[in-house]
Symmetry: C2
Subunit: 258 residues, 2 copies
């Protein structure tokens, strides 16, 4: 993040999949860096039950932060609204309780100028109603549904690691614009290892992406036994063509359709 120049001040939420060290040991340093960025608003940490206990241990080395930390031990059926983001979790199958995440950015319907004119809605209110807010003006209440068309397709990003394939995943990630999935083992003959350590083969990730009708998949979380993750990408592409290998600082800007 530092190398990308993104800054740390705007981090509102950190979602944890599970509490193995490679997924949470950076937390104290990250929180201190957020503190150094001058943030004073609270930061929410969310993840499977156990988060309070783990955070309690880690905060021995970051006891004094200049903002509040809110610990949210979520259940998969919880629904979290954070600004424009809608966050959902699903239960995965790893050695310890583990969640996958899906982030949806909803998109309001198109503003219908004819409707607004027909209802005599003052033009100065249009921009407010466009933002899906309602407004009272000269004794009348105007709501956005008066002038907005049907909700349009938004954006969906989903993130699945660490896990064996789970039946619910394709439905959970359905239609994602970007699906980030673990690909611990590229080689097909590592199935026994994948089952033992509760990880996936590239081919299994590819099958999930295909059944989930996602647009693009990035593989991540590669075994150190596999120094060139690109080598086996064919094993995923056999099932899902638009597969790419994740690398540090890989990023993409997702845009609404049309």
């Amino acid at each position: 993040m530092k190398q990308m120049g993104w800054g740390f001040k705007n981090i509102d939420v950190i979602c944890f999949t599970h509490y193995h060290a490679d997924h949470i040991s950076g937390l104290p340093g990250l929180l201190l860096t957020i503190g150094n960025s001058d943030r004073r608003e609270p930061v929410v940490l969310m993840g499977p039950p156990g988060l309070a206990r783990v955070y309690d241990g880690l905060k021995t080395i970051c006891p004094e932060l200049p903002f509040d930390v809110i610990i949210d031990e979520i259940e998969p059926w919880d629904n979290m609204e954070v600004g424009i983001f809608n966050i959902s979790a699903c239960r995965l199958n790893h050695k310890i309780p583990c969640y996958g995440y899906r982030i949806d950015v909803k998109r309001a319907g198109k503003f219908n100028v004819e409707k607004a004119k027909a209802l005599n809605i003052p033009m100065k209110l249009w921009s407010i109603l466009q933002k899906q807010e309602s407004v009272e003006y000269e004794g009348k209440i105007y709501t956005s549904d008066m002038v907005l068309g049907d909700e349009r397709k938004g954006l969906r990003v989903s993130y699945i690691t660490d896990s064996r394939p789970v039946d619910g995943i394709p439905n959970f990630i359905q239609g994602s614009d970007l699906f980030i999935c673990e690909g611990m083992y590229g080689e097909e003959n590592k199935l026994q290892k994948a089952k033992e350590y509760k990880h996936m083969l590239y081919s299994e990730a590819g099958m999930l992406a295909s059944r989930g009708n996602v647009k693009e998949m990035w593989l991540t979380h590669f075994s150190p036994s596999m120094p060139f993750p690109q080598e086996f990408i064919g094993n995923a592409r056999k099932y899902f063509r638009n597969t790419h290998v994740g690398t540090d600082r890989k990023n993409v800007t997702l845009l609404f359709e049309d």
Copy 2:
């Protein structure tokens, strides 16, 4: 360390100066990496009192290591022998209890061939005695002092961070081949800040290096407010000429004299 290709299996001891997050948050990840390197021998963690409590908090995210961790809360007058290394600590002046470290590699005296011949010591024992060991052979005990001259100058590396300058430091680091010292602020006009946060100016580090008669000083632990630490190096060199700015992966091989 990974980029340098040094491996992790041979790490016997980790010395902590103090328990601020930027000096210890990497511990769980490092211990897990050492575990993945196949190490099964114990690893010693040493540092000021409080280490057991801090380790207890951090191990919530690395509860199962394939080796024992030995926690050694040391006092500055303790003397630690670890293989060929002799480790000493000294009390520094920071916001929380903090130690500096000195590592000495002792060097035995030269092997005296004339003496060995005069004492009729069998040649097959020479290499053992040279290693400062004693040996029993055909009913006689031979000790290394029979054949070794006076101890020769060894190697000394010292490491001081985080701290204000402290009177005892020059004596503690005396004659170091390499002295690594914090240089939080390069600018002379940051003295008030340095006093407030209990850090040093480059010039203060330079004075310590000079009074300590060290061979070479590397500055480290630069304030993020100083994007180009090299810019102010003149302020340290005014007091100690052989000053260099530390950078990631900077390293040197120290050799015994002659």
